[in-house]
Amino acid sequence: MTATPVLHSPSAAAPLARGTPRRLRNGRIAVGGAVLCAMLLLCLVSLFWTANSNSNFYYDGQHTEVPLAPPQVRPLWMLFGTTRLGQSLLGQCLFGGVISLTIGVAAAAISLVLGVGVGIVAGYRGGWLDALLMRIVDVLYALPYILMVILFKIALEPLLNGMKIHGHPMLNPMASNLVVLFLSIGLVSWLTMARVIRGQVLSLRSLPFIEAAHAAGVPQWRIFLRHLLPNLVGPITVYATLAVPSAILQESFLSFLGIGIQKPLPTWGSLASDGLPLSLTPVGPCWWPLVFPCTLLAVTLLALNFVGDGLRDAWDPKRDGAKI
């Protein structure tokens, strides 16, 4: 990224039509990245209060005397109002942000590892292994995506809960719920990644420098790490960035259907789906349980998409037009 301003410095006589989108692109990455960092920092730093059961901001601290209080500046913990159980909505939103982002990043990481692994192996080894792996990908592609996430979710849950170390459950129920969620989203969403990486590896493999490395007797793993992987960084970053928002959205979807994260843990998606009926009821509707989580969710997803799209345009010289 640092090289682009030099190439397109104002003094260079680049035609405006070509120069503008590129500058815009960098702007998008910068703005998206800044918003993202701010959101991440806010959610993480606020953990000191939202995860502390003595604080008023504690995500599950139920102030039963003030259910569904409207937002007010003082006291600060009621800045976003309260939920139906009198929890601080601000605390819930911040803590929910941590969980939503965890799910997004973890699911993206899983699909990244699987997709890149399968893609590299299939593209590099070729032959029957390639054919086998790609047929598996084809079959999985034919499976309805969201149905599979749901099925994985309910199938993995008991498996993980049943796992024991020295007679003790490996994870407490809350943690295992979280792990199951990002596992099931990650395990289903690596297919596109595998195809893209395989295509890249196929075209890289025939280039002279890989052949030269072979001829020089460089071991296989070293060719993987030193020669193939650095050339794949572009598509990998782009898909990783775009996989995070889609995983977060899928979690909200599962929460809405009642098979997502279990209470009392909040996520932006589950907060929004809790807030939806509250703000739609004809009798005394309240807007804050819906609007605040949705705004945070939307801002984060937009920022992630901006960064992802910006990166994609930056890596791919053929795409000049900004899609979104």
């Binding site: 790609m134 084809d138 079959v139 034919a142 499976l143 309805p144 995506y145 969201i146 149905l147 749901i150 099925l151 994985f152 309910i154 199938a155 008991p158 498996l159 195809r195 295509g199 928002p245 959205l249 909200s252 979807f253 809405f256 259907l257 009642g258 098979i259 998606g269 929004a272 789906s273 939806l276 703000s279 739609l280 004809p282 819906l290 949705c294 969710l297 939307a298 801002v299 997803l301 937009l302 998409n305 037009g321 899609k323 979104i324």
Partner: protein, 312 residues
């Protein structure tokens, strides 16, 4: 070409078998049974006899009974949680609902998306251009259930223009149709816009105008047709998405479609119904993907899918 299509069709049963087995493995490891979930816990003996009656007592008896029935009678077996219903009947009533809704939504998405994209590209920076951008931003940044809820609140609760849910009349189709169409419409509009802008810069467009064709003719006959290909690529998966991704819309608007039954089946651990739904969805996806691949060659004869599949 014919050989390629025949080969693809010949693969379909094999893929369906694999899908059946994967889905079966997933639903089988889930503990809990559909029996006796509603009232008090069933006595163990009663549960065992129910399981035996429905061939759900062991892997062998399940796999020995249902697949053979499916292959020889086209029968997916009884639903384990909807008493007295067979899976075939559930699908027979709910599938047309979901297909109608999906097709209607895709029709809106296609017409609306193409129109917004084309006119947006012709007047860059105009109102329509920003409309499509706005819709796209809403589509990627808000969960679908929030969008559906908003539509419900505005057009049904506040304005009383349209009914709030249910199924049967054209009026009840409009809101869920739009809710479902929003995301694909935004996507099509953006695709169409980019692709129109690409195509408009070609020499043959200038030639067409230079030889005196009217603007309408140039745009619709020469530019639009060529710019449509990327959109067409997206149509297959989008149509499948509109039919499979309609859980949310069906839940919000209380529409008795196949998505609603799938969610219920998952919650009730209804193995036969889950298998039936997944199979139907998969069959749809496979068929649509095949049709899209064949459609490529019809729209653009230069594309040779047989070569493409050899390369991948």
């Amino acid at each position: 070409m014919t050989r390629f299509i025949a080969w693809r069709i010949a693969q379909l049963p094999l893929i369906m078998v694999v899908i059946y087995l994967i889905t079966f493995a997933l639903v089988w490891v889930v503990p809990g049974t559909p029996f006796g979930q509603t009232e008090r816990k069933l006595p163990a003996a009663a549960e065992a006899s129910l399981k035996a009656e429905f061939h759900a007592d062991s892997v062998l008896s399940f796999l020995g009974y249902y697949p053979t029935r499916l292959i020889f009678h086209g029968d997916l077996g009884p639903s384990l949680s909807y008493e007295g219903w067979s899976v075939n009947d559930v699908l027979r009533y709910s599938l047309p609902v979901s297909i109608t809704l999906g097709l209607f939504a895709m029709l809106i998405a296609m017409v609306g998306g193409c129109a917004i994209g084309v006119f947006g590209a012709l007047r860059r920076g105009g109102v329509l251009d920003y409309t499509s951008l706005g819709v796209a931003l809403i589509g990627i940044s808000l969960p679908p259930f929030v969008v559906a809820g908003m539509l419900l609140a505005i057009f049904s609760d506040r304005l009383h223009w349209l009914p709030s849910g249910g199924w049967g009349s054209l009026k009840q189709l409009i809101l869920p149709g739009f809710a479902l169409a929003l995301l694909p419409m935004a996507y099509i509009a953006r695709l169409m816009r980019v692709s129109m802008l690409d195509t408009l810069g070609n020499d043959y467009v200038r030639t067409a105008s230079a030889k005196g064709l009217s603007r309408t003719e140039v745009i619709w006959k020469h530019v639009f047709r060529n710019a449509f290909l990327p959109v067409f690529t997206y149509l297959g998966p989008a149509l499948a998405d509109a039919m499979t991704g309609s859980f949310v819309v069906e839940t919000v608007f209380n529409i008795p479609g196949i998505g609603l039954h799938f969610v219920n089946a998952v919650k009730n651990r209804d193995q036969t119904l889950i298998l039936g739904t997944v199979l139907v969805y998969a069959a749809f996806l496979l068929t649509l993907n095949l049709l899209v691949d064949i459609g490529y060659t019809l729209i653009d004869p230069r594309i040779d899918i047989t070569a493409r599949s050899a390369a991948t």
